[in-house]
Amino acid sequence: MNLTRDILDQQVVDRRGQRLGKVDGVILELREGAPPRIAAIEIGPVAVARRMHPRLAAWLQRWLHGHGPRSDGTLRIPWSQVKAIGVDVRVDLIADGTPARAWEEWLRDHVVRRLPGAE
């Protein structure tokens, strides 16, 4: 299995098939005398921005914390909760209420539902 080809940027779906986001980051854990292991995958706009430029990531993080749901939308999923890697990355959790859905839920409650016929 390859990190870029098979994990990074792949679609993450939860136990019920809800789309959580893309794998925006992969956390490797360095160990003494043993090969680095995947500790977690990370979802969130800040992780994407960090790949462009660290300063963009810092700015985005501050902005996201200052607006809307006051969350930067970063969700770290421990590798133990990753159930399958295929077309999608399946994880053993429920998307609702996680930071990855914070903006989705905030926009839904504060904007979309206030418009007529959103349900």
Binding site: L20, I43, L115
Partner: protein, 404 residues
């Protein structure tokens, strides 16, 4: 057999994405200024679109990834953002042009200025996406879009000299006004090969849950759907070449374009022109707005679907809402729709390589396509199209300054 009925996705994609404000404007200008001599560009563009549409459908059916999904996953977040941000700006201008097209159609019929129609049109399109579903959007537009056949009827009634039309299918160098000739050629290609068309079509294939069994019907849909659009576009070119070219009329305003249908069809011609312009542009507006919403939702992995209420995919719904709302503002300000159309078609041409080049790699990717990878015909086509697109991108802006 039922799968072949999915040709409505193709017809809709074609009505909205192939024949829309850009294609009507640029082919009418081409016919008015150069007679049948630019017909070959239309043919070339159609072939390119058929190949690329077939590939985007095949990619989705086999890999279960949409084009934009695959672009993000295969080439990373950097490339995705690099291609998405310029694409979004261009599409926003295209969307404003499409709203302008519908608004102008309403102006032609009512006499009330197009600026006043921008918001009603935007709200109608928004409501259809907000309350409707993909099937309604597809089938409704495909059915109503048949009114665009009026272009073909008009073209036939004007008795075009077929040998001139056939001669125009062979590429030729312009006798005069080279810059204007090539600028129109580039704009026509920009209008026909619209990136949002592929994004939309490949998302439609996922929403309609295509799989390997749809490869045959996908090919059929691509060829039939796009050829249908091409026949309509040839109708526009022919009518313009018959009515405007001999009289030395250049097309600067949409009001002029209507005259080619009233010439051929009399009084109903005006209403048929308004209907065809209005419906194709309305379809295109839906396609552009949805196409971009799909790109962002899939690129960032959000929930997206048109087949359940907007509350289930808030970010997706807000992207198309924001796009269509802000684009309507541009039109309400009273920017000339035809000028904006021609400008945004040339800009589309500049961004083409960002969409065509990835096809080369994606359609040869073993992991995505398995045994359904491109054969040598497909590869020659996609490499050729990409070279053409790169050339177009390089010359579009200089040509715009020189000939636009």
């Amino acid at each position: 057999m039922k799968k072949y009925l999915q040709v409505t996705l193709g017809i809709f994609t074609s009505i909205g994405g192939f024949l829309e404000v850009g294609a009507i404007a640029t082919t009418a200008q081409a016919g008015a200024q150069f007679g049948f001599r630019l017909a070959w560009v239309l043919l070339l563009g159609t072939i390119c679109v058929i190949f690329l549409v077939e590939m985007s459908g095949r990619l989705s059916a086999v890999s279960k990834h949409t084009l934009q999904d695959a672009m993000r996953e295969r080439f990373g977040a950097g490339f995705f953002l690099l291609s998405t941000i310029p694409g979004m700006v261009v599409d926003w201008l295209v969307l404003a042009s499409e709203i302008g097209g519908v608004a102008l159609a309403l102006q032609l019929v009512t006499g009330v200025g197009y600026q006043w129609w921008a918001f009603p049109v935007a709200i109608a399109a928004w409501l259809l996406m907000w309350k409707g579903n993909l099937g309604l959007v597809e089938n409704g537009t495909a059915l109503l879009g048949l009114v665009a056949l009026a272009f073909v009827v008009a073209a036939v009634r004007l008795h075009p000299p077929l040998h001139d039309l056939a001669a125009g299918l062979v590429p030729s160098l312009p006798r005069s006004d080279g810059a204007g000739y090539w600028f129109l050629a580039v704009s026509i290609l920009g209008a026909l090969i619209s990136p949002y068309l592929f994004f939309f079509y490949s998302s439609g294939a996922i929403e309609d849950q295509w799989d390997e069994n749809h490869i045959g019907s996908n090919r059929f849909t691509a060829i039939v759907g796009m050829s249908f659009g091409a026949v309509l576009a040839f109708g526009v070119l022919t009518a313009a070449a018959m009515v405007f070219y001999p009289r030395g009329i250049q097309v600067d305003r949409y009001e002029q374009v209507a005259l080619m249908l009233t010439e051929a069809l009399g009084r109903p011609g005006l209403y048929l022109f308004a209907g065809a312009l209005g419906i194709t542009c309305f379809g295109a507006a839906l396609e552009v707005a949805l196409g971009r919403a799909y790109v962002l939702a899939q690129g960032f992995g959000w929930n997206y679907t048109l087949n359940s209420p907007p509350a289930n995919s808030a970010r997706f719904s807000l992207v198309y809402t924001g796009m269509i709302g802000s684009a309507a503002v541009l039109m309400a300000l009273g920017i000339d729709p035809l000028t904006l159309t021609v400008f945004s078609m040339a800009l589309t041409a500049v961004t083409l390589p960002l969409v065509t080049l990835p096809f080369i790699l994606l359609m040869n990717d073993r992991a995505y396509m398995g045994e359904y990878r491109n054969g040598w015909i497909g590869n020659v086509a996609v490499v050729g199209i990409s070279l053409l697109a790169s050339l177009i991108a390089l010359v579009a802006i200089p040509l715009q300054l020189l000939g636009g």
